[in-house]
């Protein structure tokens, strides 16, 4: 048997040359710049940063351009680039209570200190195509109002005063890091949160939706959703003190979940948590719902066998780069594998035919 293992080089080079040409598209149409993608497709950029697990808007925009807008391919490029970077250290945990909020809403409290701030949202739009955007034109400046720039307290602090909500006491355990050690079960909450924040948005959304439809329903309210910037601070060993090394945009979602109490916990509201790079609110809400569903064990709830309660199922299938890597590899040459399968099927057939022949003879 002869199996060709070489000879694709020219075909591959030509395929990549054509890919580059197709990426550029019609040359009579102006080429997109990386800055245009960064500024005008910023939610795509945010998704690539969140799931690529690397905050760098310019790199994410470049990846989107290179990937022809295929966001999972772009995330793949970012993940690959990330592995080339030396790690300087880890930041102090970001203080989301100090966030400079662009948006901050609560579905549970109408009148809350700091107010309901809608921010640049798609909510309440009519979802009608705006043909004005098809024509080039200037955008009017957004209206302004005098602002109090003090920190905006978290909504859960109000419920905490009555002791009606589960507390999240401060703790300084060094968290596990799935980029350094392979993800293994059982996964503690810190590891689950790391896996979820970089998880595929579509997968996370669907898992969260399944809990709303009744598979491990946990009655989530969005206690608070906030989007804004926080400084990132890191201890610098050569200086001996911590400095701010940058500023990032984050979306944070805290759900407040009805909880009848369990063997170990009194009736109270429990919490689910989502925190994601960029303006990524669908993902952050989804993350909070899935986080809450995965907490059944520590809260002493029953495992009803729902997919969203199964940490192994959720965490091992949430990463779109692992998933697409395994899925797409099956289109690559498997000639030898298949050849052996073919031999096997032929052999089985011969055996079946031979035994059928014997049966026939015996019957005659």
């Amino acid at each position: 048997m002869y199996v060709a293992v070489k000879g694709g080089k020219r075909a591959i080079q030509n395929a990549h040359a054509w890919l580059a040409e197709e990426r550029r598209g019609d040359t009579s149409v102006a080429e997109l710049s990386v800055a245009q993608i960064r500024e005008q497709l910023s939610l795509a950029v945010n998704r690539v940063m969140a799931e690529g697990s690397l905050y760098d808007p310019d790199l994410a925009a470049l990846a989107i351009k290179q990937a022809r807008g295929d966001l999972i391919e772009a995330i793949f490029l970012i993940r690959a680039y990330r592995t080339t970077l030396p790690r300087f250290g880890a930041s102090a945990p970001v203080e989301t209570g100090e966030m400079a909020c662009d948006r901050r809403i609560s579905a549970t409290f109408k009148d809350l200190p700091g107010g309901q701030v809608l921010g640049p949202t798609f909510d309440y739009t009519h979802r009608l195509l705006d043909f004005k955007l098809a024509a080039e034109g200037e955008t009017a400046e957004a209206p302004r109002r005098e602002a109090d720039q003090g920190p905006v307290p978290h909504v859960t602090e109000f419920l905490n005063k009555e002791g009606l909500i589960e507390e999240a006491p401060e703790d300084d355990t060094t968290p596990p890091d799935l980029t350094r050690e392979p993800l293994e079960m059982p996964a503690d909450r810190a590891l689950r949160l790391q896996a979820l924040t970089r998880a595929d948005e579509g997968f996370t959304l669907s898992m969260a939706y399944s809990t709303q439809r009744g598979y491990a329903r946990n009655h989530a309210f969005v206690g608070e959703l906030r989007i804004g910037t926080v400084p990132v601070e890191m201890e610098i060993p050569e200086l001996g003190f911590a400095i701010e090394i940058g500023e990032i945009t984050l979306t944070e979602c805290e759900t407040v979940n009805q909880f009848k109490g369990s063997k170990t916990e009194p009736p109270q509201f429990t919490r689910g948590y989502g925190l994601v790079f960029g303006q990524t609110e669908r993902k952050a809400i989804s993350m909070a719902l899935v986080d809450r569903a995965l907490r059944w064990e520590e809260l002493g709830e029953d495992n009803v066998g729902a997919p969203a309660q199964d940490a192994e199922f959720v965490l091992y299938h949430a990463d779109n780069i692992q998933a697409t890597g395994f899925l797409e590899h099956i289109k690559l040459p498997h000639y030898v594998d298949f050849q052996s399968e073919l031999e096997l099927v032929r052999k089985l057939r011969r055996e079946v035919e031979a035994s059928q022949g014997q049966h026939k003879e015996a019957a005659e």
Binding site: Y55, D56, R87, E244
Partner: protein, 151 residues
Amino acid sequence: MKDSFDPNADRKAWMGLMAKAPEGRVTALLDAALSRPAFTWLRAPEVGSVMVRGRAGGTGAPFNLGEMTVTRCALTLDTGEVGHAYIQGRRKGDAEAAALVDALMQTERAADLRAKVLDPLAREQAQRRTDRAEKAAATKVDFFTMVRGED
């Protein structure tokens, strides 16, 4: 973090300001302020990542959120002062400029640099922050209760 007796408070503030400045800004302000002094590298500019952490529930146990790109370098002026820079993004030129400012802020040129580099950066940063805060404030909901027609 805002420790009033912190002897490093000043330096922390200027290093943080330069880390968050937009691309090219520290370089432009430094070069407009003075001609660069001679220096030697302690650590040439290097791009790497920092793992950003968050806390479960905003206040609980830390978890790894994802990395960010950071450029760092360290240098020493011929007069002996050491300057460090850790700035967001992949910006070797800006990291060099930030480390020079950090070193020069330890010399007699500090007042001049503060006026020509740090104060403008601080003003621009405050303006960017105010711009967003005011647009956000304009989207704040003013609830009012409809008076129901019962009497």
